[in-house]
Amino acid sequence: MGIHLPSLLPQMQELGQALYERSLQVSAMIPKAIKALHSTAELDHSNLQSKIKKAGNRWTGAIPTEETLNLTYPPPTVPQSLHVIGADGSQIYPDRHAAAFYYLINIGSIVVSHGSGKAPTIQQESQLFFELEDLYDEADHPVQNAYVNLRRDVAEMKTLTKIAESLAGEQTLAILDNSLLLWMALQTGGSTSRETDRTLQQYLKLLDRLRSSKTGLAGFIDRPRSVSVLALIHLAGLPDDQINQETLRLTPFRGLTDRAIFTKLLAPGHRSALFISASPLNRDFRTAGHEVHFFYLNTDADGAVVRVEIPIWVAQDPELLNRVHAGILKDCQTTGGFPYTLVRAHELAVIPPQERAALEDMLQRTLLGHGLRPTQSQKALTKQLTGQRKQHTL
């Protein structure tokens, strides 16, 4: 049986009621948060930095830059000719119940040359990972899905880098459908830490190459749930002698997101001020010269506010910063506030069920061709038997 829908009805009612009440609370918080943001903007910069220092290393709010934090910035002029590169990835995770233990990473990429009138260049790269060093960590444990995600994220960045280098000397914007910070590096578990560190270093070297090719690089995060600017304005409102882990946790803006306040503040096409991410992961990026900055951007007349992450060398170069700002807006024009290149990169990367079945079929024939008998686990076989149950209706 699947979900027992009748038994969920009362809970569904409760869910609807809870979300309605929460939306009322959140709506009431927004004017207070905006007022607090304006008050924070009036604070002396050194005073704010001193509060951030007091908050300690565990505080993960937004660190202000030299830009006034409640100002908004209108859309710059789009360059006449601009190459926008998008890359996205998908994967088949290792499955111990399958006929063979392997995993696959599939990367789709596209280059749209705005102003050229030409069809974009598209590319798909698929790679199987089946060697022992790919499949087992240093402690001989099978690799976790989070590690596969990490390698996929690096493969996406590698694709962006290779394409950007092939366009060196031209105006290029590379967009990643993700945070620039390699969050998966924090989630891969202790047993693979050395491998994770090695992968993180590879990723940072790719950023070096993108910087050398003068590419406008951006991580695009749709519907961000981040609360880092709210954490900053909460911190700013605390008296210096009351800043501690307990008071930092007791934010009056619980349930609110940065996106909710910037949806009110940003006119279509405008961006927020630049901030720096205080994530612990950003320390590695800072050391390597790629400290991640971010801004919020209204990409659509309907108020779609997204978070855009950029490395410091884009943030501190007005030409690259404007290219990212204007280029993303240009690329979002026909697709409701989400970049066209990322829509297409996802379409190219995704592995549909029929292609996955064809891959499994190819795998089984290959194994048979080498005298091996492909067998799935009994669990996988019984799932196939029961998973295609037909719904009979009168």
Binding site: V112, S113, G117, A119, I122, T334, V343, R344
Partner: protein, 198 residues
Amino acid sequence: MPESPMMIGRVTRCSTRGFVGAMQISENALPVFGSLCQAEAQGGRSYVVGLVYDISITDDQFARQLAALEEVPQEQIADGQINRHVPVEFSALAVGFHNDGGFHQALPPQPPLTLASVFSMVSKDSVDFTSQLHFLQTILNAPQLPVDELLTTALRLSAQARPEEERERFLLQAGREVAHLLPQDLTRLENILRGLRA
């Protein structure tokens, strides 16, 4: 230089009465309504002759979203027409087959199989096939097709495949055959003959 057949797709659905083919092809290579094509059957021992009666291009939500916009950048139009995996689907009515004995104007003994190659018919074969006109009966008997338009277009394309001095004679002969097949339906006959004269 002799004309060579152009591959226009692969069979995706079929029966002895016709087949449906699909391929991602450019606008220039699209099959034409009323044109003849051939699909490999019986392991290459025969070809089913089909008459293209419908050409369709499938859509999806993304294409619909872009189509609804006032202005779509040229790069995105080119992407949709050239890169995206949107196949052109065409349907053909089986009007004959070809084997060692040449062309036959009858339903084929077996349909082509899935993914069989479909080729456009070169002028020489088209002239050869349409030297007999029994296939007109198959067209007139086809249910739920734009039969009159299909018949008129097929005959005019067959006439164009012939040398200029033979075209009129071919169309006159075809007109007589249609008159023979539609003796009770003068209005319809007149429409078809008018189409052949145009």
